[in-house]
């Protein structure tokens, strides 16, 4: 693939908030002493009166978000995925999920690509945690364009939404006029008849590269971008299983409870299909540069390619 522009989706989050803030007065942004890292400082510079720094108190921030939503605002609460989904799980469940309040959770620094901070900060469990909450929408955008579209869609969706963003700059892959973001709808990025790779987040790009390598050997892989993990585009996944047989899921998340599990739930009930789940294999991560970690844990294009070759053998 030619050299393409790279942007971290957390940057896209900050920009999208600033743009939407200009259009919608009821949009407010909450942060927990990480405005520079979550990029909500982009919004803060333009709308300081609508940016609320709650300090290092994520559970309280989650509750304040619920209160603001109950009073008619559309709050985006922002912090690292580890604290948004992990530390504040029960607050998200009981103060936001159960009353189905209109709170958007912007979780940045998700996955192992957080890198050097190591296992304590590498949240590979958030999709599983958020997916299990009734009524929660879970979105994991793949690039800058999709991330911005997802933030706008989340604003317009009535109800709680979990948005997952990364720290690492990732290639822009949706830069085409046909691109359209629709909540709950997967996107076929590459046609193929031999197998289907279903990927999410930054793994969409890596999967596309892996599919090219396979194609060079005559193996045609369909590649589907699942940006909305809940609700899942079951129709598209069932169709792919029927047409291509073997399914491979790829996510920068634990293989337990994330995209792979969601796809398996769907296929087991509808069209039992052999599935290879590529992700973090029930281990904690470690410190290191993001790219090296993605390689070590088999989540770069090369790792995906190799695992698929073994799967097909």
């Amino acid at each position: 693939m030619p050299e393409i522009k790279k942007i971290a989706t957390r940057e896209s989050y900050g920009k999208a908030l600033a743009e939407l803030g200009a259009k919608y007065d009821n949009l407010v942004v909450l942060d927990a002493d990480l405005a520079g890292a979550t990029k909500t400082d982009t919004f803060m510079k333009v709308f300081p009166e609508r940016h609320i720094d709650c300090g290092i108190a994520e559970a309280n921030m989650t509750g304040i978000g619920a209160g603001l939503a109950a009073a008619g605002k559309v709050p985006f609460i922002s912090t690292f995925a580890m604290f948004a989904a992990g530390r504040s799980f029960e607050q998200v469940r009981n103060s936001i999920g159960y009353p189905h309040l209109n709170v958007k959770i912007g979780a940045t620094h998700a996955g192992i690509s957080v890198g050097e901070d190591g296992a304590s900060h590498q949240c590979n469990e958030d999709i599983a945690l958020m997916r299990v909450i009734p009524g929660m929408t879970v979105i994991n955008p793949s690039d800058d364009i999709e991330a911005k579209a997802a933030v706008e869609a989340a604003y317009h969706h009535e109800g709680p939404v979990y948005l997952r963003f990364g720290r690492l700059a990732v290639p822009v892959i949706n830069d085409n006029p046909d691109y359209k973001f629709e909540l709950g709808k997967g996107i076929v990025l590459r046609e193929g008849k031999d197998l289907t790779i279903i990927a999410t987040g930054l793994e969409v790009y890596e999967s596309l590269v892996a599919a090219e390598k396979l194609a060079a050997e005559g193996i045609e892989a369909r590649v589907i971008n699942i940006h909305t993990i809940k609700p899942l585009d079951e129709e598209l996944i069932i169709k792919a299983a029927k047409e291509t047989g073997k399914i491979v899921t790829v996510e920068e998340h634990s293989v337990i409870g994330g995209l792979g599990s969601a796809v398996c739930d769907c296929l087991a009930a509808n069209v039992p299909t052999k599935v290879l789940k590529i992700g973090i294999n029930d281990v904690f991560g470690e410190s290191g540069p993001a790219k090296e970690l993605l390689a070590k844990y088999g989540l770069d294009a090369e790792g995906i390619y190799k695992k698929i070759k073994d799967f097909l053998a």
């Binding site: 009166e49 559970a59 309280n60 509750g63 209160g67 109950a70």
Partner: protein, 278 residues
């Protein structure tokens, strides 16, 4: 509503609490009864609310942070006209809208779902902050238990409320001194409660939770306090109004049996008759 009328109403609300918990065969009568006068004062005197329009925009908000005393809130809302008093008998029954803990989606007059201790105050802070951001005049009231102060999130919320000078927020601590496992000071003391809230830049008001004169003075003082949130530390008697439940931790979360129900209701009816003769 005058003091005698408030007392009569509180007595009716207590009857509703006992009836609801008895019919549910479970629930939390102790803390509901201790806070019955606080509920009565808030909904019949203090708060700007409209039972015919439960969601009216400029209404004052109430968050029951100690959500387990839902029978107290429900009985108050029913007696205030938000829904039929008869429905209190369906508390905790399958299919009933009266859930074991407050459910804002289905119960008219409930401003926030709650039940998991420590979470309600943060939500109340969010509501109060929203009013401030929009220059709205509504006020937000949050009722917490004294044992609930053991939850760390309470102090995160208090720190933020004090920092933001949310003078439209009133925290009421139902200080009945008991939690499930015994006296709060034996389990894990939250005392001194006043000094802690003071340290978080709250205006501290002490009150007697079971005396309407004291409550009136306290809420008036909170209303007049500018530039900081208020906390009313309301000394109360757990199980207040039912002799055998009073000051007994064991009545935190259990329902009366048939015989106990008869005794409790007779006591409350007698108290009501005495108030009528005043």
């Amino acid at each position: 509503m005058e003091k005698l009328e408030l007392q009569k109403m509180a007595n009716e609300i207590r009857k509703g609490i006992v009836t609801a918990v008895y019919n549910a065969k479970s629930g939390h009568p102790g803390g509901s009864l201790s806070a019955a006068d606080i509920f009565t004062y808030l909904y019949f005197k203090e708060m700007n609310i409209d039972p015919k329009n439960p969601k009216k925009e400029d209404r004052d908000r109430f968050v029951l942070s100690k959500g387990h005393v839902a029978p107290g809130l429900y009985s108050t809302l029913a007696n205030r006209g938000f829904f039929p008093v008869e429905d209190l008998k369906t508390l905790r029954h399958v299919g009933s809208y009266l859930q074991g803990h407050p459910d804002m989606k289905h119960i008219p007059g409930v401003d926030m779902s709650s039940g998991s201790l420590g979470q309600g105050l943060s939500v109340a802070v969010g509501m109060a902050l929203s009013a401030k951001m929009d220059n709205k005049s509504y006020r937000v009231y949050a009722l917490t238990g004294d044992g609930e102060l053991q939850e760390g999130q309470i102090w995160e919320a208090a720190m933020f409320a004090g920092h933001r000078k949310l003078d439209n927020l009133v925290v009421i601590v139902d200080n009945n001194n008991l939690q499930i496992d015994g006296c709060i000071s034996d389990v894990c003391s939250p005392y001194p409660i006043d000094k802690k809230f003071e340290a978080f830049n709250f205006h501290v008001i002490n009150a007697d939770a079971n005396d309407f004169d004291s409550l009136e003075a306290a809420f008036k003082e909170a209303r007049e306090t500018k530039g900081m949130p208020s906390v009313i530390i309301a000394k109360s008697i757990k199980g207040k109004g039912v002799s055998f439940m009073q000051n007994k931790a064991s009545w935190h979360g259990k329902a009366p049996n048939d015989e106990e129900y008869e005794i409790a209701m007779k006591e409350l009816e007698k108290a009501g008759e005495e108030l009528c003769q005043k």
